[in-house]
Subunit: 146 residues, 2 copies
């Protein structure tokens, strides 16, 4: 797996540093979306000196390179998720436990058609995200508790 991460960094023309690899490893172990601060806390148990700005920078580089994706959260705080599904798809996120599931649909074609057709505009990107409660959380009475 580590080789895989080396390769990911190589492909992004990023130097293979212990901290970048650690961020990738931490993200790869997570089943849920995480904040820079949370990553930082885990990093601090692995490195004596590790700055929060470094974590922010690494996460942004990985996101920029398409390796991880940003989560759009109602609080507008930053969250990231390392999704191994390389096909174009979107996410269902649980507002209670932060689990992320793939939603294998994409309206890109229809969007492109409408925008190019009616609006004569140019599409740069699109955001599709579904917010809700996952199976586990929706089975609880009060999904935010216990």
């Amino acid at each position: 797996m580590s080789d895989n991460h080396d390769l990911i960094l190589k492909n992004l023309n990023l130097k293979i540093t212990p901290k970048r690899l650690a961020v990738l490893n931490i993200l790869a172990d997570e089943l849920v979306f995480v904040s820079p601060e949370e990553i930082w806390r885990k990093m601090k148990s692995r490195f004596k000196n590790i700055g929060l700005p470094t974590v922010y920078r690494i996460l942004e580089e990985l996101c920029e390179g398409g390796v991880i994706s940003k989560i759009i959260h109602p609080t507008r705080q930053l969250y990231y998720y390392y999704c191994k599904n390389l096909n174009h798809h979107h996410h269902f996120i649980c507002m209670s436990c932060r689990r992320v599931e793939d939603v294998n649909l994409c309206a890109a074609k229809e969007i492109e058609k409408q925008v190019a057709g009616n609006l004569k505009g140019k599409v740069l990107s699109h955001i599709i995200q579904v917010n809700g409660f996952c199976k586990t959380c929706s089975q609880k009475k009060a999904p935010d508790e216990s």
Copy 2:
């Protein structure tokens, strides 16, 4: 139009105050999405005393009530847009001039099917937004300039 805005506030069980009406009027005159700060600047030319927190609060109330919608911006700053289209739809936003256009498609049905079916989850809300350059801006050589 003012009556219309009175009614909007009434329906939300909000008192009809000059400042709430002014925010609605300012938003109604805008063709583009705007920030709280920008609204505040316009408010200051109409009111001697007007606090930025008031603008934030009013915008949030209107958004909460479904009267205006939040724009998801890459910078993650807050932007709002007052859309008169009452049908469920989504937005195409121009990253250059901030114009907003309706995109009359919605994947809600397919989303619901997938999430309820495969994931056994519960959908609370969904975000669909298309980012790009509008007709005018995409016709310019460098869309971000001049």
